[in-house]
Amino acid sequence: MKALYLIALVAVAAPAAGAQQVDPYSNQPVAIEEGRGLYNGACTACHGINGAAGEIGPGLAIPGRSYARNTDAEVFDAIKHGIPATAMPAQQNNLEDDQIWKITAYVKGLRGTAIDAPSPGDVAHGEALFWGQGECGSCHMIGGRGSIIGPDLSNLAGSRKTASIIAALTTAQHRVYGPGGAQPHNLVPLQTYPVVQVTTSDGKRLRGVLRNEDSFSMQILGLDQQLYLLDRTRLKSISYEPKSLMPSDYDKRLSQVEFNDLLAFLTRLGSPPTLEGPQVKMPGGPDPD
């Protein structure tokens, strides 16, 4: 089976062998914008827009996802020749190589995170603002310091785009609205932090951040930083608050210079995502071969 698979890979990769391996259009805004138009014309029948998952194809730029095709040449090859044993068709008869490189640049551009291009500014001042005037540490944690109500930001810049960090600081956003197509089917903890208030049947009131729920149970992190595991049948009332605990007026409560410094600090938190997850081999079992 492995041998067959290798042959298939070689057969697919062969026509691209003489072609360039690095995208001539990476980091070129005009070409990337053209790539977006081409992508929206040729790819969104299956894939979702803006890198989201589509009705038939997977998301091409979903945070936290590991990608089978990471290099420019691999993305180019998948578009040009299709991917065997999947629904991904070859586009070589529909698109010129030049157009495929533009789509590649667009797709790759969707995937980067803040740490690939940190914002300029006074990082030390940004850090001081984070723990001081900004009061960010009253909810968030970095490297073990801070609170656990909000998401841990130790790897913020390694997992988020700069635009999404700015949006979190300046726009009210309580729920990440779904892309149009099929959702990436992973059972993951809740990606949002909605605030919920419940009253138990014995009259206790609890306010906290919803960490998960289903039709039968709720898991709430109380504002007292305690975890509450609750059964819906034992709750008298549940109310979901429309607003997040996250302030969305940092562009107003901070000066422009302060905001930029805070952003300089935030866009340096963490490390770039690794392309391949490390394989950890545990000792103790017999080797298969």
Partner: protein
């Protein structure tokens, strides 16, 4: 051993293998088997088994779990015949003991493939495999041997829906280069006929495309069959270009339609178009459910469908006559109204735009491919309803513009799934069960003669509801995302309910009366 002895041995073996003596036939619809995608040809998805009831389902327990290695997000409905369960993927079928979950055989054609494959079919001890290299195979149900292997006619790639096999004819379909259906002889693989929603050159409906070349209209879900009328019923998908309708002025037949074909010839007998001139991807692929009943005082052969466009349809399936359409979601604004019986007028104000146009229901649909079910005792039609609106975008004002759609971010217009019960003949809502954390598509449903409606939820809960009231009777967390529909079957007098959750098959049954004898636990 001489040949005579061998024959004698064979006779003895046959005599002691009653499981294979009778080949289950989908036309006989024995409730112990689940032989087609929808269980039976009428696609009611209602198991006549009644061991598990609303009164005792609270004691339902997991009997076994089978992991289909290397897979994820399976959408297949398992097939069960004579106590053996068959689970499919492109290029692959696993056969397992439906009582114990033990694997019996596995067929894997290279390469290992993944994707939205939704089931196989059983006919004359054969199972059928669609492959990623444009082949169609028949396997021997006993050991997975390849009985025939043919290249798909015209070199096309079949899509993932389960084949429908009627009168020894194997019906399959696909999406590219545009929607198509094909028929093969199930016993030999011989190609018989093709049909496409693209109107032929001499078809007057070609004029419904405003001069543009017809395109799109994928056929991506299995269909239903009425043996008496000798008609198969399928849905067709949206026209292309999907988001730009200005170049294809007209109704764009036979897009977004329910079509009735003669399975012997592939000839179109009638059609009904749910969504003329679609710019929102309202595929009519939701399962057509066939019911014989008195409707408004007259016995009728009905076809029921909850459509992605937000309306519940009742048609006369003998001739396609439109009888009734009832809106089943809070908001449906893609249409301006109806200009004649059964013919809605699409509202151009809701066409996709460069800045985004909010339209209800969203393109994800008011319901989608996950299967509905019909309870013939209660006259209730159960399905998964998705409330909410979407924002439809196009990349530019030019014709053939592409792009996509998003969930509406407005409060009250975002997506929420409900298991919904309608009075099957009036279309009026009887009850609703809110699947609190399910927001997209959801898995399909199955009702049973025991008065239990099995309603899996998107994030892994396998939930049993009271068919009469929608009240929760039992639930089990399968631990992964469910994108398939449940089935029921029985072996040795015991009723089982099974569901696939991502890559795992779960089977449930009531505890053995008294449990295993205490003395056995030595």
């Amino acid at each position: 051993m001489g040949p005579r002895h061998a024959l004698l041995l064979l006779a003895l073996l046959t005599a002691h293998a009653p499981a294979w003596a009778q080949i289950p036939d989908p036309i006989k619809a024995d409730p112990k088997d689940w032989l087609t995608y929808s269980g039976q040809y009428h696609s009611q998805r209602h198991s006549q088994l009644r061991q598990i009831t609303a009164a005792n389902v609270g004691g339902l327990a997991a009997k076994w779990v089978y992991h289909m290695t290397g897979q994820k997000d399976l959408e297949a409905t398992p097939i069960v015949a004579n106590g053996v369960m068959y689970i499919s993927q492109y290029n692959r079928i696993d056969a397992i003991d439906a009582r114990s979950g033990n694997v019996i055989w596995q067929f894997q054609r290279q390469p290992i493939a993944t994707g939205a494959q939704r089931g196989t079919g059983f006919w004359n001890n054969k199972l059928f495999v669609t492959t990623s290299d444009q082949h169609l195979l028949a396997l021997d149900a006993r050991n997975g041997s390849v009985l025939w292997d043919v290249a798909v006619h015209d070199g096309l790639q079949l899509a993932g829906q389960a084949p429908l096999i009627v009168k020894g004819k194997l019906i399959v379909s696909g999406n590219l280069p545009h929607g198509f259906m094909q028929c093969y002889e199930a016993d030999t693989g011989k190609y018989l006929w093709s049909w496409s929603p693209i109107p032929a050159d001499d078809d007057p409906q070609l004029a419904s495309w405003g001069g543009q070349k017809p395109d799109g209209m994928p056929v991506w879900v299995s269909g239903s069959y009425d043996p008496e009328l000798n008609l198969i019923y399928y849905g067709t998908g949206q026209p292309e270009p999907q988001w730009a309708g200005e170049g294809r002025q007209g109704d764009n037949l036979y897009s977004d339609s329910i079509v009735a074909l003669d399975p012997d010839t592939g000839k179109l007998k009638w059609w009904y178009q749910n969504t003329p001139h679609d710019t929102h991807d309202y595929d009519s692929l939701e399962m057509p459910v066939l019911v014989d009943a008195d409707w408004q005082g007259r016995p009728r052969k009905l076809l029921l469908q909850a459509n992605r466009n937000g309306f519940y349809y009742i048609l006369d399936r003998s001739n396609g006559e439109f009888l009734q359409a009832t809106q089943f979601v809070k908001k449906a604004d893609w249409l301006k109204g109806w200009d004649r019986k059964g013919h809605p007028i699409a509202d151009p104000a809701h066409d996709p735009s460069v800045l985004g146009t909010t339209t209800c229901p969203s393109t994800a649909g008011a319901t989608n491919w996950p299967s509905p079910t019909y309870d013939p005792a209660l006259h209730l039609f159960f399905f998964v309803a998705q409330e909410g609106c979407g924002v439809n975008l196009r990349d530019s004002a030019r014709n053939y513009a592409g792009t996509g759609y998003l969930e509406s971010p407005e409060a009250g217009k975002n997506w929420q799934l409900f298991t919904r019960a309608l009075d099957a003949f009036t279309g009026k809502k009887v009850w609703d069960y809110e699947q609190i954390t399910s927001h997209h598509y959801g898995p399909g449903l199955m009702s049973t003669a025991g008065g239990v409606l099995f309603s899996p939820e998107e994030f892994g809960q396998f939930t049993a509801l009271d068919s009469r009231s929608g009240k929760v009777l039992w639930h089990f967390n399968t631990g992964d995302v469910i994108t398939a529909s449940p089935i029921s079957y029985s072996v040795d007098g015991k009723q089982y309910v099974a569901i696939i959750s991502s890559s795992n098959v779960f089977a449930f049954a009531l505890p053995d009366i008294g449990g295993p004898a205490v003395g056995d636990a030595r």
